[in-house]
Structure formats: structure tokens, C-alpha cells
């Protein structure tokens, strides 16, 4: 409720700034907030990353263990992505089973990694039909400052890039890196009063009608997209967002996610 009132109060403020081509924190429309990614922050996890994107703060842990493959893909490993919006991270989050927002976030993060074929799933097979590696990607949001989507997918990719298959623990030889062959990067834009802004802050996100997430791979091709929110977008707006998202993803990848 507090959030809704704040959003109402700040709506005019943000609109008026937008008309002048400005944002509340002085950023350009296509500028991200300060981003830091630290990897290997959790020793017990096979891979981990802490992401700070402006006020948004989250930790991604990758746990890897053996399990049985799905019957329709007996020679491929399994990726499972989970994200919870726990009450610690925001006054508006509640305990209990994940709701549609959390499920959507988790599924978009998952699709970005899965559909870009960033992980070579065939290399996660130990004994076809019997034993494969199961990769659990768990996103733990600690502080919601807006744009959890991008922070979570950056964190997931960063954690995977440093993750090791725990061969030793399962008597399978030496630990090796998770077989990564691409670095997908998600970029989220919001539409506010006809303008497009990247990396929305919490206030911007709460007054935006719609956001569009575009995940692109190293070659600059698109591997996942998701529109979220009740306002429609025009073809021009979508094409514009796709263009800047691909460009921005390249910048972020080169700066933060070198293999």
C-alpha cells in the first residue's frame, strides 16, 4: 500500500522529468545503474554470484548434484531455475508459495539460459538414461530496488561461468567447469508515457505500464523475449528495444562476463 501511494505521488515527478529527457537519478534513458558482480561468494555452492544493480541486491547460488534424466532426454543434463521474492527483500513481498511475478521472473531467467543453449546439456550426461548432472540455479533476492529480472539473469550467468561440476565428490575424477558455450544477457526496458528507459528503478518500474525483456547471445541473436505488463507496445517500440537491448547486452557481456 505504501508503495502504491508513493508511486502515485512520484508519478507526476517522474513524468515531468521524462518530458525533459531526465530520470530521477540523473541517468540517460539507455543507461544502467552501477553494476557490480562478485563471484564465488558462497563456498558451499558449486557456483555463486552476488549482484548489485543500483539498489537491487541479490545472490545466486548454483548447486549441482547427480540425478536421473527426463525420459524424453536420456542423454542430457537438467537445469532447474528457482526464484523467490522473500519478505526480507521488500515490504510488499509475502511468505508462501511463489506467486505469478516470481514464477514469471524465474521462467524468463530459465528460458534465457536454456534457449540460448548456453549450457551444453549433452556434456552433463554421466550414464545415458541413468545418471546426469542436475544444475539447480537458485536466485535469492535480498533487496528489491527494481529490475530484479536483469540482476537475476546476470547473476545466474555469472554463477554458472564460475561453477564446477563436483566430480570429486561423486568419485568421477577431477572437478571441471560447467560446459558453457554462450553468454546470454537479458536487458529490460520499460515504457513510460511513450518513452523507453532501460534498467528501471523501483519507482520507474512501479509506474511503468509495460516492460520488455530481451535476452541476446554472443552473436547478437535473440534467444528469449518476454513482455510483462498491461500496456501495449507498438512494433516500432519493440524493434527499438530489441536494437538497444542487443547493443547493451554486448557492452555488459564484455565488461562483466568474460569467459
Amino acid at each position: 500500500m505504501t508503495n502504491e501511494i508513493m508511486a502515485e505521488l512520484r508519478k507526476d515527478y517522474i513524468y515531468n522529468l521524462m518530458i525533459k529527457g531526465e530520470r530521477e537519478d540523473g541517468r540517460a534513458f539507455d543507461q544502467y545503474r552501477e553494476l557490480t558482480i562478485d563471484t564465488n561468494v558462497i563456498d558451499k555452492a558449486e557456483g555463486s554470484a552476488r549482484v548489485k544493480l543500483g539498489d537491487t541486491h541479490l545472490v545466486v547460488g548454483v548447486k549441482i548434484q547427480t540425478g536421473t534424466p527426463f525420459p524424453d532426454t536420456p542423454d542430457q543434463g537438467v537445469i532447474i531455475t528457482n526464484l523467490e521474492l522473500i519478505p526480507l527483500a521488500s515490504p510488499v513481498f509475502e511468505a508462501g508459495p511463489p506467486r505469478e511475478d516470481a514464477i514469471e521472473l524465474a521462467r524468463v531467467v530459465d528460458r534465457g539460459i536454456r534457449e540460448s543453449q548456453a549450457i551444453d546439456l549433452s556434456k552433463l550426461c554421466i550414464t545415458p538414461g541413468e545418471k546426469v548432472w542436475m544444475v539447480f540455479i537458485d536466485v535469492h533476492v535480498l533487496d528489491d530496488g527494481g529490475n530484479i529480472m536483469d540482476a537475476a539473469s546476470l547473476g545466474a550467468v555469472a554463477a554458472l561461468l564460475t561453477a564446477k561440476l563436483p566430480n570429486k565428490r561423486f568419485d568421477l575424477g577431477d572437478d571441471v567447469n560447467v560446459p558453457m558455450r554462450d553468454v546470454p544477457v537479458s536487458v529490460t526496458a520499460v515504457e513510460i508515457g511513450g518513452s523507453i528507459m532501460l534498467d528501471p528503478s523501483l519507482d520507474e518500474q512501479s509506474i511503468a505500464g509495460t516492460r520488455l525483456t530481451v535476452t541476446s547471445n554472443q552473436e547478437g541473436n535473440i534467444s528469449a523475449m518476454q513482455k510483462s505488463g498491461v500496456y501495449p507496445l507498438t512494433t516500432e517500440q519493440i524493434n527499438y528495444i530489441v536494437d538497444i537491448a542487443i547493443e547493451k547486452a554486448k557492452e555488459i557481456r564484455e565488461k562483466f562476463l568474460v569467459i
Binding site: 506467486r99 505469478e100 511475478d101 514464477i103 514469471e104 524465474a106 521462467r107 528460458r111 536454456r114 534457449e115 540460448s116 520488455l212 547471445n217 547478437g220 541473436n221 535473440i222 534467444s223 528469449a224 523475449m225 518476454q226 513482455k227 510483462s228 505488463g229 498491461v230 500496456y231 501495449p232 507496445l233 507498438t234 512494433t235 519493440i238 524493434n239 530489441v242 536494437d243 542487443i246
Partner: protein, 244 residues
Amino acid sequence: MSKPEKLIENGIRLDGRRPDELRPIKIKVGVLNRADGSCYFEFGRNKVIAAVYGPREVHPRHQQKSTSAVVRYRYNMASFSVEERKRPGPDRRSIEVSKVSREALEPVIFQEYFPRSAIDIFVEVLQADAGTRTAGINAASIALADAGIPMKSLVSSCAVGKVDDTLVLDLFKDEDNYGQCDMPIAMTPDGNITLIQMDGHLTRDEFTEGLEMAKKGCLAIHELQKAALIEKYNSQLEGEVNDK
């Protein structure tokens, strides 16, 4: 079925369609008695039924909004609708589909006309063959109109995908399973996009081309939706004339 060697041969798809051709569509409006509006929609081998209830009181009360109606959308797959029995009830996929489908329809509904009330949309998938969310949105949009809910326009939806490096309209099951991309779209007849999702692999140019292809598909569906609504009310009118 294992992956077919070719999903497209001499420009013709496995089910005999050209790349830019929709599956056959069958629409029936007002198929349920208790619902305020309803629609049965067949999209190739997909069979879905949509019902709209409302505007009506909101239960639970705390969900109501003081300045507009709440729109709720429940997408549900019947356990027998797919090859392997689906466990009944909502799963993560259907919760996400419900969310994006609701958001695809909300922009056309005059929600502010009905404060403190609910507009409930229920979509049941009786048979699934790729494209159930698009079929559901098409059906729900007609059911809303049938319920007399004030709307800015209908919403039409179809997917575009890529198989064997060729863009194709409206994927059916095998193309969805073994294809390279799936991109469902929903839009209003004036070209506003209310739903876009995508997974798989598309180059920048393929994306632009695919979006245009999907828009053409949506416009074709829009004509069929209109025709189905007109047909229902024409036949009602004729019935009344005959009664007199």
C-alpha cells in the same frame, strides 16, 4: 515421435501448409448457458473453450479495486488434453500463461467502468497441439465481447516460429517440439502489441520479418472473430423476427 528429418519440404510443411498459412479455425460464440459470455475455439487440433463471468462482486473482497474492475484470467489444461496425462491443477507454466494472457486482454477492457467488481475469464484447454495460449486469448477476447463487456477492440493472437531455418506462421506440435523458435504474439487490429514472448533462436532480421508475419496472421484471425460474433447476433435477430 522422434525428430522428423525435414519439417519443411519444397516449401510445404508436414501438415501440408505453406509457411505463412494458419491452421483451420472454427469458432462458436455463446456455447455455455451459465456464463455471461463464452466461446469455443478450434485452432488446428487445439480445442479450447472460454467463459466470462462478470462484472460481478469480487471474492475475496481484498482483491477489489476502488477505481476499476479487476480482471482475472485462469488458463487451465485438462489432464487428457496432452499425450502424457497432465497432473490436474495449476503448475508454474499455467500460472505464467494466465498472467501474460490477462495482460494481453486488459488493455482493451474499459476496466474503469466497473469499480469494485471482477471480470473473470476462464479458459479450459480440452485438446492441446501447440499454440494453446494464443487460442485461449482469441477465445477469451470473443467471450468478453459476447458477455457485453465494453472493449476498445478485440484482441487476436497467433505465434510465429522457425523450422529448418524458415519462418513459419502458427506452429503445430511437431514444429513446436523440433523447431528452432516459438514467438507468440497478441495484438489489437490497430497494431498495438499486447503480448509478445519468444524463446529459441532468431537473428535480428528474422525477428522483424517474423513480427510482420505474426501481425498478418492476427489480422486474418480478427476477421474470423468478427464474423463469428456477427453470425451469433444475426441468428439471434432472425430468431426474434421469426417468433413475431
